[in-house]
Amino acid sequence: MECKDVRKLLSPFIDNELGTHDTFIVAEHLEVCVLCYREMEDLRSIDARLQEAGRTPLVGLEELRSDILAMLSPWLWVRRWRGIGVAIAVLLFLVVGPQLFSAPADPEAEAFSAALIMEVQLNATQPFSLPWLDPQSLHSVLRREGLTELPSLAPAGFHLEGARICYPLGRLFVQLVYRNSNEEVSLFVSRRWTRPLPGVYKHGGFTIVPLGMRAVFLVGQDSLANFADIRSLAEEEIAALSV
């Protein structure tokens, strides 16, 4: 075997990766060839230096170990996936939420909701045909009904535009109409209605949000952006009233 062939085998030779036959041939050649032997010695020397360099202790290993151990903590997983969890929950809410809040399978609630919507539509189509209450009469009616605090229920950004008496399903209700620059929200309240609706109800472009036993908000579908604010504020106010 010639020197150039042997030199190609020197690398696996010093790594003990050659088969028996080739190992024997290379070893035999090295016994008689000074140049190849010197090259093998050079390679071994380089290996030794490289191994020595590789054994140089690394600084900061303990800190890294601590970081890794902390990373394996279950709480870190909770923190790591919390954001994704919230995102999934929001997505699920957006996808499934409308179905969860779909029409209640309750004939009485449906009939009541339809009656409320009719009152709102009537107000929209015939705004001057309904007997609006003047402030003094409104106060008097509300006092009689035990609802004197309700006119302060205006949702954020809305003002009380008017109030009237109506009779959805034959029960007396006070309808308070709130308005901002482009939306109208009605609050129906009555001491005589003691049965809460089972959930948010949507029908014909309206969303009905039950607020306890005596109050119901009606908002248009386009008002859903304000939905949380309105509902939250109204619920707070009603909770305060019950105290």
Partner: protein
Amino acid sequence: MRSRASFENEALPHLESLLRTAVRLSGDRARAEDAVQETYLRAWRSFRTYQPDTNCRAWLFRILLNVLKKAAGKRRRDPLADAEDVEGAGKIIPLFPTREGSTQDILTAVHHLAPEFRAVLWLVIVEGFSYKETAHLLDIPMGTVMSRLYRARRELRRYLTVPAVTRKEQKERTTGHGM
């Protein structure tokens, strides 16, 4: 499911060699630490599928090399890319003369090897993996391991046996200075 204690016992003892390898292959301590952390995270996630009494070290190294490769891909500079066909790949470019025989000298030489040669050289010579294990770790044929190792050693030898002065001259010729 296997416990965290057994993970610590089996996997953490290899932290130093993983970090050492990551530093050498990525050429950057911060990137290396990130890669090692990611390696342990991935290993921990799939530890329930790990078979006891198998080669935990090789398993961790394989994860590490994948992490490094992915990270390098993101930087559009793959330290483990197959670049044997690229002209000039594997050539040492001596950037500056180093003190003969020093640890830094040989590490500098290793650093200037083409990434795929550096990986084979480091895994076999420093980390002591067999050719077969290295081939498995890098997902390359054993013959490729042999040829890369042969060329890496030849280049290292050439670099380390050329006097620093000559290398400085080579550098000046390369960069156009001193002419």
